[in-house]
Symmetry: C2
C-alpha cells in the first residue's frame, strides 16, 4: 500500500506558524506527536474515521482527544443539533433545554444534586475549587503531583507566565501512595478546602495507573473526617467508564465532579455536579461566559447521553478496547517485542516496556498512523462507540507491519 504523506498539513503549518505562536498550541501541538510524521489539520469525519487535509483517512483512536464518543457526525446527535440550529443557539437567555439537561444529568449521576454548565474543563475544575473554598472557608487545595487538571495557573503543565502566588495554597501527594496523601493532609491540617483527583492516574509520556485496592475508600474516609471537599476531575474519563460517573466504576462518592470532553460528542460544553451541602456555596461563586447558556451544545449533550444509555455504549467501548489491547499485545509478542498496555480498556495507552525514551513508540505509532489508524505516542488513546470489528481487523494489520519495522530497526 502507498503510505500517507502530510505535505498539505505541513504547508498549512508553515503558514500558521507565521501568524500564531507555536502554529498549533496546547494538546494538539505537533511537538507532542512526531513532527512531520502525523497530520496537523483535519478535513472531515464520519463514525470512527476522520480524514485530514491531505486526503488521508484514519481509524481514530484519539477521538478528538476525548470529545468524540458516539462517532463523528452521529446522525442522532446531528439531528438534534440541526433542529435547534434552525431556532438559534446563543440568546439573552438559556433555552428550555438547559432545564431538561440539568434534570437529566442530576438523574443520571447519583452524586449530582445540582449541576452547572460551562465551556472548558478548566472552567469547572477551577470553579469547583472556589466552591470548596467558599464552603469550607479554607484556602488549601491538594492534588496528585503531575496530574493535568486544566490550563489555568494553579495547575497548568506549562511554566510560562506563572507567579509564585498562583500555587501558594496548592500542595501535592502521589497518586496511589496513601501515605503521601496522609502526610499532606497532616501537614495542612484544618486548612484544606479540597482534594481534587482524577478517577485514575492518566499522565502523558507514562503508563496509566488504575487506583490500587483501598485507595479511594481511604481517600474518601480521610476527606470526610477532615472536612475536605472531595472533587473528582472526570473531564478526561467521564462517560467512558460508567455513564453515572467514573466514581461509580471505582466505587466511591465525591462531593463534586467535573465533566467535559465526551459529554456532548464534540459540542462545546463542560459541567460540574455536586451534592446538596455545597449548593448554597456554589450559588455564591460567580461563574459565567459569553456562550455558556447557548442551547446547541446542551441539545447535543442530551442527545448524546441518551444515545449512549440506550445503546449501552460503554459496554461496547469496553469490549472494543479490551480486544484492541489483547490484539496489540499478542501481535507484539509474536514479533518478539514487549509492550505495556495500561489504563482502562476505553482509555488505553500503549508503550514499549523496555524503553524510557519513547523512540520505539514514536516509530510504531508513526508507522500505524501513516497506514491509516491514528495512534498517539505520548498521550492516552480514546475508544468510541463507533469503532467496529472491521476497524480492529484493519488496525491489527497496520500494527503487524509497524511492529515488524520496530523489530527490524530496534531489535527488540
Amino acid at each position: 500500500m502507498a503510505l500517507y504523506n502530510f505535505n498539505k498539513s505541513i504547508d498549512l503549518f508553515v503558514r500558521a506558524a507565521k501568524k500564531m505562536p507555536g502554529g498549533i498550541y496546547g494538546h494538539m501541538s505537533p511537538a507532542l506527536t512526531v513532527p512531520g510524521s502525523f497530520p496537523y489539520y483535519a478535513a472531515g469525519g464520519k463514525g470512527s474515521h476522520y480524514w485530514d487535509v491531505d486526503g488521508n483517512e484514519f481509524i481514530d483512536y484519539i477521538c478528538a482527544y476525548g470529545p468524540m464518543v458516539t462517532g463523528y457526525n452521529h446522525p442522532k446527535v446531528e439531528e438534534a443539533v440541526r433542529n435547534q440550529r434552525e431556532l438559534g443557539n446563543c440568546f439573552n437567555h438559556p433555552g428550555e433545554v438547559m432545564v431538561e439537561l440539568a434534570e437529566y444529568i442530576t438523574d443520571l449521576i447519583p452524586i449530582a444534586d445540582w449541576v452547572v454548565f460551562a465551556k472548558n474543563g478548566s472552567d469547572v475544575t477551577t470553579w469547583s475549587l472556589q466552591v470548596a473554598r467558599e464552603y469550607t472557608e479554607r484556602p488549601k487545595v491538594i492534588m496528585a503531583k503531575g496530574t493535568y487538571h486544566g490550563a489555568h495557573a494553579w495547575c497548568t503543565p506549562g511554566h510560562g507566565g506563572i507567579i509564585e502566588e498562583d500555587r501558594a495554597h496548592i500542595d501535592y501527594f502521589k497518586f496511589n501512595d496513601i501515605e503521601s496523601f496522609y502526610r499532606v493532609v497532616e501537614k495542612n491540617k484544618g486548612k484544606i478546602a479540597a482534594a481534587i483527583l482524577t478517577p485514575y492516574n492518566h499522565p502523558t509520556f507514562a503508563d496509566q495507573e488504575l487506583p490500587v485496592d483501598g485507595w479511594w475508600s481511604k481517600v474518601q474516609k480521610t476527606c470526610n473526617e477532615e472536612g475536605i471537599v472531595l472533587i473528582l476531575d472526570d473531564v478526561r474519563a467521564g462517560f467512558r467508564l460508567d455513564l453515572r460517573g467514573s466514581n461509580e466504576y471505582f466505587g466511591f462518592k465525591p462531593d463534586m465532579a467535573c465533566y467535559c470532553k465526551a459529554i456532548a460528542n464534540g459540542y462545546p460544553l463542560s459541567a460540574c455536579v455536586g451534592n446538596d451541602k455545597l449548593k448554597n456555596a456554589a450559588s455564591k461563586v460567580f461563574l459565567t461566559g459569553s456562550y455558556w447558556n447557548s442551547a446547541e451544545p446542551m441539545v447535543a449533550a442530551l442527545a448524546n447521553l441518551k444515545l449512549m444509555k440506550e445503546t449501552n455504549a460503554v459496554a461496547h467501548m469496553m469490549d472494543i478496547g479490551t480486544r484492541l489491547g489483547k490484539g496489540l499485545s499478542d501481535l507484539a509478542t509474536s514479533h518478539g517485542l514487549r509492550v505495556k498496555y495500561s489504563g482502562p480498556p476505553t482509555i488505553p495507552f500503549l508503550r514499549f516496556a523496555n524503553e524510557e525514551n519513547f523512540f520505539r513508540n514514536q516509530r510504531f505509532c508513526t508507522e500505524v498512523t501513516r497506514r491509516g489508524a491514528f495512534f498517539h505516542p505520548s498521550h492516552n488513546w480514546f475508544i468510541s462507540a463507533a469503532h467496529t470489528d472491521e476497524d480492529l481487523e484493519k488496525t491489527f494489520k497496520y500494527a503487524d507491519e509497524a511492529f515488524a519495522i520496530v523489530k527490524k530497526e530496534f531489535g527488540s
Copy 2:
C-alpha cells in the same frame, strides 16, 4: 395591545432552581433585570428579533449580551457553518480554517502580528496577563477599579471563593483619572507587567464613560516608557466601534487585544492578538481547551467578519444607535422626564438622570420589554447590523407608552 406574560419562563425557572445553584447564573441571572418581569428562557430568533418560551417576540437590544451582531440566524453565517457541519467540527486537529482565520484577523487588525483562539473572554484576558508576565518577568497587573475583565479569580465581580493571593499583584486606578494612573504606576514602579483596560468604561448599574481627551495617549506613553505591556480588553466592544479594533476608533496602539462576543455572531470563539515583540513569550504560555480547535466557530467568525466588512455593518449600527438615542431622549423630554444616554452609539446605556436607585429605569425597561423590545435596566445594550428603521419605529412607540407610565408613577 396585550402585554406579555412570562408564565412559562417562571415555571421553568422554578424547575431549574431545584437542580442548578441560582437557577440561572452569571450575567443572565434574572436578579440583574427585574425578577418576574422579564423572560428567562429563549426559544428562537431571526434577525434583530427573538422570542421566548412564552411565545413573546422581542426586538432585541441586548443581542445575547453582545455575541449577536449580524442578526440571529444570519443566512451567510449559517450557510458557512452548515457546510462545515457536514464535514465535522471537533477533531484531533484544527481545520484549514484556523489558518485562514488567523491570516484574515492579522490582516484586519493593524496591531495584530499574531493571534490565538480560545472559547471564553476570560480565557484570553487571563492568558494575556500571563504572556505579559512571561515577557516582562514582572508580577504586577494594573486595571481600572470596578471594570469587568471576566469571571476568573483575579477579576471576578463575585466575592465567593476568592482568596487573598488571587489578587496579590493586582492594583487599581480610576478610569479617565490619569493622575490615579500615574500614582499606581509610581507605586509599583518597575514591577508592572501589564495594564489591562477596556476601550471605554462600561460598568453595570452606572453611566458609561468614553475616554477623556488625552487619556489613551497618556496611558500609552506611560506604558511605553515604563515597559508595561498595554492590553486592550475588547471583549465587549470589539467589532462594534471599528472592525480593526476599538483602539483604532479611539486612536491608540495596545500591545495585545482580547476579543470574544461579536467575533462569530454567537458561535463560541474568543481570540487574543498581539504584536511581534510578544510572540516568543506567547509561545511559552500554555493554553488549550477541549474544543478550542473546533472548526465551526472559526468558519462562523470568518463569514461574520467578512460580512460585516462587506456590508459596512459598523456604520449601519452607528446610525441605528445614534437615532435610537436621539429618539429616546426626545421622547423622554416630551414627557418631562430626564434621561442620560451614555456610551458609544452601538453599545449604549440609558438611565434616568435624577435617580440613583434605578427604580424608574426598572419600570421603564419592564414596560418596554413587555410590549416587545428588550431593554436592560442595569447592563449596557448592544445594537446589531440587523436592526431596521421599522424596529426603531416600533421601539419608540413602546418607549412612548413606557415613559408615560414612569411619568404617571414617579412624577418626573
